[in-house]
Chain length 236, copies 2
């Protein structure tokens, strides 16, 4: 397989792009990263052709075929390279356990995203307050899930990462941004002890560590600040 | 398997509940339907215990274990009863084709839902206009997908239904409601010829027909009108 068979069209600071990198690295799949330079203005021809419906990054282009939506891409990666350099896969075998993993990955995509966007798109004010509350509530729910639903850990997937670890782990690159712009702590040791331990452990999981290294927290903060200024015309 | 092993906690007029019924009927699985009587006021203990995170119907309870979120439930049904009374399953085998099915099912859940909710929750006005435009745009996109992505039909799944057919087919029970409350035509023959033919065909597919029969269009309209009046205190 030539590395150019697998292309990731994304922006380096996108947590959704980081998900794809984590999944590819976990599977030992080489890829070419294509940076979409201007998401606020002119989108590239490649992006518009690859994702004509949503016109959003990330897109995985495998042998010329585009796959869109980050968690759908991660599942595609899981099913396309099921065993290479990875003990298991991102979804368990048992249908009920698969449903639980899908439920909580979907929860991350709905609830954590909702809170994150409220904080990132708005200056300090009513919406940021609402965002903080949505994020805090979602972290407590995920802490409970890690404790009650997914067993002893250290990851949601047990001793290896699963779809929930990738869905939520990608947010680690944007926690500093959320905390700075939202003026709060995303993970509180007193209300989310299990999730705090998880965050520490998952950040050291090789593929997660490598994926997150492509989007260093402080640089993501700079990038988001810059995007807020140009796109939303918001002062801080 | 005793029928009481499989319980569907829903409301008879819920299109999301209809999805579960279609899937169970397609697999030939018997079930007990438990009607959640009051979604606007007091939710039942069973619902709050079965879906403590979202507190929403439908919930599938299989051997005492709850599964939530309609498309996750449909995939659970697909994986739990893979071959009974059904030629194939709701997702194809090929990873790329699976990604396409997941993408368009997700599109229905995001875009068609967004437009539907805008219409159903609001009196005729700005939001209804926006809802009409979202619905119309999504139908044109789905018509294109049916023509260009999914092949000759008559269903998204070819000669049998797949996850997209279930996701979108369930909306047939609410088309009359959307058209009456939104004062427009959901499916226009001139812009959505393939989807018009699909709607006619899929409504006759045995499990879809049986599922939709549990939520007759005109009764759904009455129910939604009544809910709007009590819950949103909106006049028409």
């Amino acid at each position: 397989m030539s590395p150019s068979d697998v292309k990731v069209l994304s922006a380096w600071y996108s947590l959704f792009g980081v998900r794809i990198l984590i999944a590819l690295k976990a599977k030992g799949v080489e890829y070419e990263f294509i940076d979409e330079p201007d998401l606020t203005g002119n989108k590239s021809k490649l992006l518009l052709e690859s994702n004509p419906v949503h016109k959003k990054i990330p897109v995985l282009i495998h042998k010329g075929k585009p796959i869109c939506e980050s968690l759908i891409i991660v599942q595609y990666i899981d099913e396309t390279w099921p065993s290479q350099h990875h003990k298991g896969c991102f979804l368990p075998q048992d249908p009920y356990e698969r449903a639980l993993v899908r439920f909580w990955a979907d929860y991350v995509d709905k609830k954590v995203y909702e809170g994150c966007i409220l904080i990132l798109q708005n200056v300090k004010g009513a919406l940021t307050k609402q965002g903080r509350s949505v994020v805090t509530e979602s972290m407590v729910a995920l802490d409970g899930a890690l404790r009650d639903v997914f067993g002893p850990g250290p990851y949601f997937g047990g001793d290896q990462i699963n779809l929930v670890d990738i869905a939520l782990g990608s947010y680690l690159c944007v926690f500093e941004t959320m905390e700075t712009l939202g003026d709060f702590k995303v993970l509180d040791e007193s209300t989310c002890p299990h999730l705090c331990a998880w965050a520490e452990a998952v950040a050291q999981y090789p593929s997660v560590k490598e994926g997150l290294a492509t989007a260093p927290s402080h640089k993501v903060l700079e990038a988001i600040r810059s995007i807020r200024k140009t796109f939303f015309s918001l002062a801080e």
